[in-house]
Structure formats: C-alpha cells, structure tokens
C-alpha cells in the first residue's frame, strides 16, 4: 500500500488549493464513526414529529383513556319503575325508595313498556291483589338480574322478612388489582415492541430503499457499528419511554412498583434488545416500506391480541398456551407485571428472561446471516 500511496507525491504540482490547506493533523480532530452514526440516529428520530408522538405521547393518551374507562366506580344504582295506578303502587314505591341502591319512579302502562324496552329501567314492578307482585324484566341482562335481587330483598324486608344470618361487610379496593394496574405494564411492553420493531425496521428498510446502505458499504464504515448505532438509540429511547410511562402511571393512577428497580431495568434492557433484534430480522431483506410494514404487522398483530396486553393471556385455550407463553411479547408483559405488581425478583423472572434471551440470540444471528446491504 505504501508504494501506491506515493502517487500523491508524484502528481504534477497541484495548485495550493483548499485540499492541501487541510491541517495534516486532521487526525487529531478524528471524528468517531460510532458517535456520528449514533448522533444521526437521534437526529433522524427527533426531527420526525410523528415518531416522537407515537413513542411518547400515544402510550400516555392510551393509558389515560383506559384509566378513565376502567376506573373503580361506586356501586351502581338500579333504575326501576312501579306500575302507577295499582292499589298498592304508592306504598310499594315508597318502600323500595328507601333502598339507596334503587332509583324508583311510577310509570303508566305504555310509558313503562317503552322504558323497559329501551333499557331505561331494568325492571318493572306490577303490584297485584293483596300481598302479591309481578317482576317484569329481561333475565338475559345482568343489570336486570341485579335489580331483581335488590328489589326482591327490599320488598320482602319491608313486608317484615328477617335475615336469619347476621353479616358484616368489609369493602376492599387494593392497589395493584385494578384494571389500570393490569394494563399499564402491558402498554409499556407493547411500546417497547413497537419502538424496537418500527424504530429499527423502518429506518433500515428506508436506508436500503434509498440505496444508502449500499452507499455506506462503499465506504470503510464498520457494518457492526452501523447496526449497533440503532441498538444504542433504542436503548436510550427506551429509558425515556419507560420513565415517562411509569412516572405517569405511578403519579396519576398510583400504579405500584413493588419489584426491585434493578430487576425491572434488566427486563427493560433485555426486552428492548430482543425487540431490536426482531426488528433487525424483519428488516434484513425487505426492499420496500410496504413490504416491511406488512411483515411487521404480521409479526406484531398476533402478539397484540394473544400476549395479554389488554386481557389475561390465560383466557386462551390450554391447547395454544405453550405458543402464547413462548411469544416474545408475552414474556415481556408477564415479566413486567410480575415485577411491578407482585414484586418478583430476578429468580422469579428467570423463565421470562430466558425466553427473551432465546429470541434475542435467535433473531440476531438470523438477521446477521440474512442481512442484505444492497
């Protein structure tokens, strides 16, 4: 190489142009390719407002929506009616009105029939002759069945029935067992999946589509550093995403963080690397964004449904449980829930971490083998 390098010195005396004016010690200000690649990843991210929205704002909006929809509500009041005009209507209505869980009104025949049909009242009491009454309701509706129990109890007591057993009620609403507690770790895991798969997948496929990957391999750039820069960005993003979502859950909804932060952090890091590797695998050959996005949905959709983000994965039949439990997202969701809600330590999380590590290694090795730079 040294022999051919001399070609520079044997060139006809070039004018002292700007090129030669470059300080010979340019190496002193040597730019680090790893740093530059990573900076590029960040710039590409934060200059894309949509990406920022989907990564940070969307999970918060989703958590707020779900938190409000599934908030713990006070005991429901049953709307019922007593048929007006019957001899005992007034006394029955006032007897029922004393029960705080009933909202009672008197309606005539047609109004009552309409109210019943459109579900404005759950049940209609038709007082009969003497000590008889008729309940009209739709037994297929849960609130109608509840109203039937409450009305009957109030009516019988008013008529003098005495409870043979004395009971005492202790009401429980424990942190960690509400829907928001259940769904927040799921959203967090889903966010890590989306970030890993979209973040890596689209970036790499877009660079391939633009022939930028091919341009890069025509330089001395290290291919490993290029791929590594995506993982570094994902890890940094993950820290912010997790902090934002967890802080929001803890501060706004009082979601518990019972496990050790160390174990939780390990789950986050391994999960992020795993989804990054899966994103890399999905992006390893696709040439178009359409193709890549089809593949991504094909991979992610089953997990959104089956991995227990919004409802327990154990709802699926036993026959498919081995598959459901082996899904990457199931492992992350379960590990996060166990850490946050049950305070599980690393030993208890080893099963999920093992599944995650297996997906990580498998995807990464396959991705490196299949990766197309052109």
């Amino acid at each position: 190489m040294s022999t051919s390098r001399t070609s520079r010195s044997t060139r006809p005396a070039a004018p002292p142009d700007s090129r030669d004016a470059a300080p010979p010690a340019a190496a002193a200000a040597r730019l680090s390719p790893m740093l530059q690649l990573t900076l590029v990843r960040f710039r590409e991210f934060y200059r894309e407002p949509e990406a920022v929205f989907w990564t940070f704002v969307f999970p918060l909006l989703l958590a707020t929506g779900l938190g409000i929809a599934f908030r713990s509500r006070p005991a429901e009041v049953s709307h019922i009616a007593v048929l007006a005009g019957a001899p005992a209507a007034d006394s029955i209505a006032s007897a029922l009105g004393r029960d705080s869980s009933l909202a009672v009104e008197q309606l005539d025949d047609t109004a009552a029939a309409t109210a019943l049909r459109i579900g404005r009242i759950a049940l209609l009491v038709v007082p009969g002759a003497g000590a008889t009454a008729e309940y009209r309701y739709d037994a297929a509706r849960p609130e109608a069945r509840t109203a039937r129990l409450v009305v009957d109890r109030a009516l019988q007591r008013a008529a003098g029935q005495v409870d043979p057993v004395t009971v005492r009620e202790a009401l429980v609403s424990e942190r960690g067992s509400r829907y928001i507690d259940f769904v927040l770790p799921g959203l967090l895991a889903m966010n890590l999946m989306g970030g890993g798969i979209w973040g890596l997948g689209f970036g790499i496929v877009d660079a391939r589509r633009k022939k930028l990957l091919k341009r890069f391999i025509a330089t001395p750039m290290s291919r490993a550093q290029y791929l590594l820069s995506y993982l570094v960005m994902r890890l940094a993003m993950m820290v912010v995403e997790v902090l934002v979502v967890v802080a929001f859950g803890v501060l706004v909804f009082g979601v518990p963080m019972r496990g050790s932060l160390g174990a939780f952090a390990i789950v986050c890091v391994v999960g992020t690397l795993m989804f990054g590797a899966i994103g890399l695998l999905i992006a390893s050959r696709a040439r178009t964004l359409e193709g890549a996005s089809g593949l991504m949905n094909f991979v992610m959709l089953p997990m959104w449904v089956a991995s227990g983000v919004f409802f327990a994965a154990t709802n699926f039949p036993a026959a498919v449980q081995p598959v459901v439990q082996a899904l990457p997202l199931t492992a992350v969701v379960d590990a996060m829930r166990a850490s946050m809600l049950q305070g599980s330590g690393l030993a208890a999380l080893s099963g999920e971490l093992g599944i995650m590590a297996a997906w990580l290694v498998l995807s990464f090795v396959l991705a490196l083998r299949l990766f197309r730079w052109r």
């Binding site: 390098r5 090129r19 390719p33 022939k211 330089t219």
Partner: protein
C-alpha cells in the same frame, strides 16, 4: 508504483439469463479522467460496481490501485471515493451532518468545511437534504465521495436528470478534481459530457468495449468531415435511398423526420441535396451541419442512438 489505477481483464457478469458484462477489458492509468459511455443497460453500472467492490464478478480479474478486493478490501475502501446512481441521503440531516458522517468513516481526509467548500455548498451547509435542489444533492453526493481524499473516484452517471446549469456546475467540479490529479472513472450516456470531461473514453455496448480512445480520435475514426441534418415539410417524404446516393455521403440515418448524413465533403453534398429536394417538389424545412460527435460514432458502430434505450 502501479501505473494503472484500474486494470480490468476479461470481466464477465450475468444476472440469470441476461449477460450484463461480456468479457470486458479496461486499463486506466493513474491521473486520467476516464469515461464509460454507452446507452442504459450497456453494462456500465455493473462494471463500475464490480470495480467498486460492491458486486462480485462471475469471471475475470480486477486490480484497483494495484490491489484486489478479495485480499485488500479494508485498505481499498480507505482510498476510493464512490458516487452511486440513485443514492438518496437522509432527508432530515443537514449537508454538514451528512458530510461529517462520511468523513468519520475515513482515517485521513480534508476537514468537513474543506469538503463542503470544494463542492461549493457553503451556503447550504446547514440546510436539510430535502431542501436541496437536484444539482445540490448531486454535489453533496460527490462531497461524500471526496470525504476520504481518494486516489480514485468513481462517478456513476453524475449528471443524469439534472438541468443544464446544474450539469455545468458539476462538470466544473469534475474538471477541478481532474486538475488536482485525482483519477476519475465516470459513466455517462451523454456524449457531450464524455467529450468535455474525459481524457479517454470506452464506448460500451452489450457488456463489451466496442471502441476506445480519446474523444478526438474516436470522432476522427468516422472519417466524416461534417454531419448534415435536414428535414422536409410535413406529409412529404424524402427517400433515404436517394439521399444515400448523393455525392460525398458516407452514412445516413433517419431520426424521426430528420435525415442525418455523415459526409466527407459538405460542399459537394449540400448542393446535390438541395437539387434532389427541388426535383421531387419537396420543401426544405430544416438544414444544418455540425461537426461529428461521439453520438455519431455510437450510431455508426451500433446503428442505435445512445438515448434510444
């Protein structure tokens, strides 16, 4: 010191049934600006990408700056500058950020500011790539090729799709490089570009070099002094057979409504042509003459136009 910057022998490459490169030879001495001229699909890009180490040849030998891709890839990458057809740089990055990224890949090279100044993008240094014009993007692409102060630069169709002014700016940039003594290998299907920029040209067709030489020697090889072009009124017909028999006509071709005649002596041909047109009662709507170009060389070698394909 190897006198050849590029030495390609008996290169072959096929994609399935299509033979892209069919036994191609090229020798380019250091310091030369060498052009591969040919129509789209002639095998220029395949050839250049094999030389850039981006494609493996099926057969043949490639020596770049005296080194081989198989054994010296890491060293070679440091010494080459590459500009690919159709590279789109990241839209969201600025000119300076893009150049800095490419500069970071090389051990040695000019400063980022120097590189930007060389391609005259100083005013755009903080502009995002998606705000650049086609010509500015192409100059950025050349800037990235210069980031490692290369001994050999490959430019693949550097002016395709550019407006005339941008082309001229890019030509000035290439001429500047050439003056600095950098070896340049460029592909083009514009004959005026090849004629203006290149010391020597290989005309490539169907994966082979069909003519090689300086632009001047290639044009001289036609033996034609002038090219006469003429057209007759709409709906009228000038028979090519009659035109070919006129005195001093070496070759003829019909290009739409236009007849192009390569002639050895235009002062003999033109009066005869006018007489022929008058005899047939036709109206002459266009008549011009020009010196033969590489386009005429290509047409006489292949019977096709450079831009037909």
């Amino acid at each position: 010191m190897p006198s050849l910057a590029l030495d390609v022998r008996a290169l072959r490459k096929r994609y399935g049934d299509v033979v892209a490169v069919d036994g191609l030879d090229l020798q380019v001495p250091a310091g030369e600006c060498f052009g591969l001229l040919g129509p789209n699909g002639a095998g220029k890009t395949t050839t250049i990408e094999i030389c850039e180490g981006l494609l493996d040849p099926d057969d043949g030998e490639v020596l770049v700056l005296g080194q081989r891709w198989r054994t010296d890839e890491a060293a070679l990458r440091q010494r080459l500058g590459v500009q690919l057809q159709e590279t789109q740089f990241a839209d969201k990055l600025t000119v300076a950020e893009t150049v800095r990224l490419f500069r970071s890949f090389y051990r040695e090279g000019p400063s980022v500011e120097t590189i930007i100044a060389r391609v005259q993008l100083e005013e755009k240094r903080n502009a995002r790539v998606n705000a650049l014009s086609g010509g500015q993007k192409q100059r950025l692409s050349v800037a990235c090729a210069l980031a490692g102060d290369p001994d050999l630069v490959f430019l693949d169709e550097p002016t395709t799709g550019l407006d005339p002014q941008s082309r001229r700016q890019l030509w000035e940039l290439v001429e500047q490089l050439r003056q600095d003594g950098t070896t340049i290998i460029l592909t083009t299907h514009y004959m005026d570009e090849a004629e203006r920029l290149c010391d020597r040209i290989a005309i490539v067709d169907r994966g082979q070099v069909i003519a090689l030489g300086t632009p001047r020697s290639l044009i001289r090889s036609l033996g034609a002094e002038q090219v006469v072009e003429c057209a007759v009124g709409e709906g009228e017909r000038l028979e090519e057979r009659d035109v070919a028999e006129l005195p001093g006509v070496l070759r003829t071709r019909v290009d739409g409504a236009l007849h192009a005649l390569q002639v050895s002596a235009s002062h003999e041909t033109i009066p005869a042509l006018l007489a022929l047109i008058a005899r047939h009662g036709l109206t002459l709507t266009e008549l011009r003459t020009h010196s033969p170009t590489l386009e005429d060389v290509f047409v006489s070698l292949t019977g096709r136009h450079l831009r037909d394909t």
